[in-house]
Symmetry: C2
Subunit: 322 residues, 2 copies
């Protein structure tokens, strides 16, 4: 495909984007009408929305359009999974400059589509608008399949804290890219394209998880949301949190304690949950801490002590070009 | 409330926005977790998304934040109604500059909330991000209540075309504002805050509507979407389309044929549908044309002849500051 989105025009772009989509049995009516229709067999629908801006949440020199699509869909569907639901559908609100090559939104859509397929979902609709800053607004829907939603507010003192998925890989990749490098590839790829463990969310609900979230702002920060909503304290054991040797090597190379990436790095969309202490967890879950009664200490501690590094404020000055 | 959104911070702004919300029985889990949970008693959910940009879809000197909120929710919930569904929930993706007064997003949220209440829905979640251009991304959900969705593709030759709601009022108000005036108020208000006839959508589904859409791009353009999807021609009778006398007066004052506003003006979100010829329509529906077999003529004609004014391309140069 040649030319810019301005040359293609609104309806031409919409045609191009929708022509790339695949469907699933849950899609009762796909793009092209006033609204889409998606099956909701549970009689409840889980829904979440996120906005990604160029220069703030992604950079075109670091990530391809395809990667941005994968990542945008992944972070939203991780929110669905973190409620214990199965992702069913994604919608795209897209702002594009008129001089943007038309290949960019097309490859973005390919990324959205492929990530949806990983999770068993499909892109069912959207809107495209011309504007100055590329903006990718994603809404994801999901179905609870008769499980109750697992919120952030159900953690009980005595529960164990367990995590599944990747931790710190995206942050390590970001550190590498920010220093102008393109390798090690595994971390750079993890930053460009997270791989949330979608299946783990509904599985945790069936295992009796009492509270759950995905790790988008950092493990300590996101567990802080659970601790606050559940009115408990959470203590992590740093020795039980894996720091892969390759990550330790990069940390040494760039002068960063890799435990910071693991405990504070967001965007990998691991899933962290609390479970009753007698739970039998499958091997892919790692128990890394426990839920305690609230105390004078901060709501999340590491090895019983305050963890000095703060969470992530998306409005803070440090958030640029993340 | 004082200060800017930057001073309030991400979490402060989210707290402020969510504190303004009301709920409905359909909201099983509102804002504050990874995702919201909304009842979908029909086992299908209708969903649509739209993006509004400052300078393109609204202007802060023409519309208050409250009006933008009302309008953003209205245009999305009109899409839900135009499928024959009842709106249940709305999500907001919001981009705001750090120096924006914090009152602006708060009043936007009040507008969203109040328009949702008109339709029986509630705001259930969202995302706020800092960026240069105010961007309002709305997703609306709805429930079909056991009606089949009314798409654009079911119109049959012999059907009548009927409309309910306002036509041309927003366009006339836009013409007034664009010339630097603030009155007549009725049209300016209609531009700032459309009033879609939400109830008419599900009612039309029950009355046996064969195709339906809301008028967002203009009556002729939107009926063109029905004609194309249904592979029919649609002929409108201009004498049956109401042109209010006040609108005729403004048209004379600004030198515009008011029929252009009525037939080409979007954004009032009237609902137009096709029905079998023997349908008994309630008084608030006006029959304005009929569905014919396709011919060499354009897909939508007025009094049997081509209508010379084209539809609306949101990427076109004329679309600025609309």
């Amino acid at each position: 495909m040649k030319g810019t989105v301005g040359e293609l025009g609104e309806f031409g772009l919409i045609r191009e984007l929708t022509s790339r989509l695949t469907t699933t049995p849950a899609v009762r009516l796909g793009p092209g009408d006033d609204a889409a229709v998606v099956a909701a067999p549970d009689r409840r629908v889980v829904v979440s929305t996120d906005v990604l801006l160029e220069g703030r949440h992604f950079r075109r020199d670091w990530s391809t359009a395809y990667d941005v699509g994968r990542k945008a869909a992944a972070q939203n569907m991780a929110d669905i999974a973190a409620m214990g639901a199965v992702p069913t559908a994604v919608l795209l609100g897209l702002v594009v400059p008129a001089d943007l090559p038309a290949t960019w939104p097309s490859e973005l859509m390919d990324g959205l589509r492929d990530e949806c397929q990983v999770a068993g979902a499909a892109v069912v609709g959207g809107d495209v608008v011309r504007g100055d800053t590329i903006t990718v607004s994603i809404t994801a829907l999901g179905d609870l399949r008769n499980s109750d939603p697992v919120t952030r507010s159900g953690a009980q003192p005595g529960d164990v804290v367990a995590v599944t998925g990747w931790l710190g890989w995206s942050a390590a990749g970001h550190a590498v890219l920010a220093r102008g490098f393109r390798s090690p590839r595994a971390f750079v790829e993890a930053h460009r394209r997270p791989e949330p463990p979608y299946h783990a969310g509904p599985a945790a609900a069936r295992l009796g998880a009492t509270a759950m979230t995905d790790v988008s702002d950092g493990l300590v920060a996101d567990l802080g949301h659970i601790a606050e909503a559940s009115k408990v304290r959470i203590d992590l054991r740093s020795g039980d949190v894996d720091v892969p040797s390759q990550m330790a090597d990069i940390g040494q190379a760039v002068g960063v304690d890799p435990l910071q990436w693991v405990l504070n790095g967001g965007e990998d969309h691991a899933i962290v949950a609390t479970f009753p202490p007698d739970v039998k967890l499958p091997a892919r879950w790692k128990v890394i801490g426990e839920v305690l009664n609230p105390s004078a200490l901060p709501q999340v501690t590491v090895d019983g002590a305050p963890w000095p590094h703060s969470g992530w404020d998306h409005f803070g000055a440090g958030a640029e070009a993340e």
